[in-house]
């Protein structure tokens, strides 16, 4: 899989190159406005779009790199990066073989996946309480 970069493929894009990427940027603009107005979060599945060769790179380049980068280790890695546009996050889920399973652009104050989940917190509380009560082992 990693050998592809070694092949000098010259990708020529279609006459309207970047139209899909432009549409995504416009969607993000609307989503950011909605986040500010109503707090509604938004998510775009990059796998379900017929992106032209090179458009994903263009999108990544345009959105840039922001301040936050979170690495999650759950059923393989997940990479959550804030883009230069704050509130716009690039979320990539990898499997245990480090292959991309799903890739999203999310618009939120903080992606849900980063937060500790309520049920997990409750379990942690139980575990910690049990430990303090000297019940463990």
């Amino acid at each position: 899989m990693s050998g592809l970069e070694g092949i000098p493929i010259h990708i020529q894009t279609a006459p309207h190159a970047g139209a899909n990427a432009q549409a995504i940027l416009a969607e993000l603009e609307t989503a950011l406005q909605a986040l500010l107005d109503t707090g509604k979060e938004h998510s775009i599945d990059l796998r379900s779009l017929p992106l032209l060769p090179g458009e994903l790179d263009y999108l990544q380049h345009t959105l840039g790199t922001g301040e936050v980068r979170v690495e999650i280790d759950a059923l393989g890695k997940s990479d959550v990066r804030e883009t230069a546009y704050r509130g716009v996050w690039w979320v990539a889920h990898y499997n245990t073989l480090d292959e991309v399973m799903a890739e999203f652009i999310e618009v939120s104050f903080c992606p849900d996946i980063v937060r500790a989940q309520r049920d997990d917190v409750r379990e942690s509380l139980d575990a910690l309480s049990a430990r303090l009560a000297g019940n463990e082992e």
Partner: protein, 364 residues
Amino acid sequence: MSRRPTVAEQLARQGVSRRAFLKFCAAAASLMALPPSMAPAIAEALGKLRRPSVIWLSFQECTGCTESLTRSHTPTVESLIFDMISLDYHHTLQAAAGTAAEQAREDAMKEAGYLVLVDGSIPTRDGGIYSTIAGVTNLQMLKDALANAAAVVSIGTCAAYGGIPKADPNPTGAKSVQALMDEGLVPRKPVINVPGCPPIPTVITGVLAHYLTFGEIPELDSLGRPTMFYGDSIHDRCYRRPFYDQGMFAKTFDDEGARKGWCLFELGCKGPTTHNACATTKWNNGTSFPIESGHGCIGCSEPDFWDAGSFYTALSAPADPLTLATSATVAGAAIGVGMSFVNRAKKGAAKSGHETATLKDLEK
């Protein structure tokens, strides 16, 4: 009835956190071509789901569909899905188990409500003797398996539409699962067709995940395919579509147009009439799909794609050579000449039968 554990219980037992489960559900939503906002609904549904039993029947096929699935590129999601189901019988994968595998199949069939997956078409000529497993014809085995089944998923073009075994002249009388039901040869059950030669692995698992998660048949098109994956034609989703609209076509596989990635319509691309997810889901870990690699679509997810003329003949060109043209021209010329003689004879007869009118005649 033994109580099967729910998927959530299964995962908790494996030490999987809610966060990991949420990630899995996000990936599953993407897999099922659902909007990312559906992830919580998936999580809720999966939390309640009990592992259903699945029987996989391989009939007149090349094992390409099984290859496609077992070599699929997202092991975590697929393996989780296969953790969700109880795959009780798959004769290709269980060949070494011999009679024990056949016993497992018969045991699984005792409890109604299982899912049957079929790959390969079913031969019907001469009593179906052209393909048998452990001495049982495919037709008989399908009939037995469908009796107590909840639904059947036809995986691959052979199971869905007959595929290559059914191609002209179809020596084994091969038929699709749906065709057998329509003819009343096997019990009628809901059918989901997942065609392709082979189908995209993530489409197979996506369809299974949808059925298992929501416990219902997804929305299907007129050919029984889930619209979430087969709703658009390749042409409509193709990144080369703008070239088609501009009339920029590759004329050969190595000309300037081909090198520049122009539309492959004239080289026989069947994208406009083919419904599949290749242009968006792509193959080999999202690397590319045939058109992106410079070859036209061959339409493998459509019925009778093998008999639809050459893969390299444009869709608007004749599928077969025009065998009647020469004889029709000759026959037309012959009739034309014949008619001209008839007409001349008529004219001649009229001329010779002509009588000169005299004043006397007019006064009559």
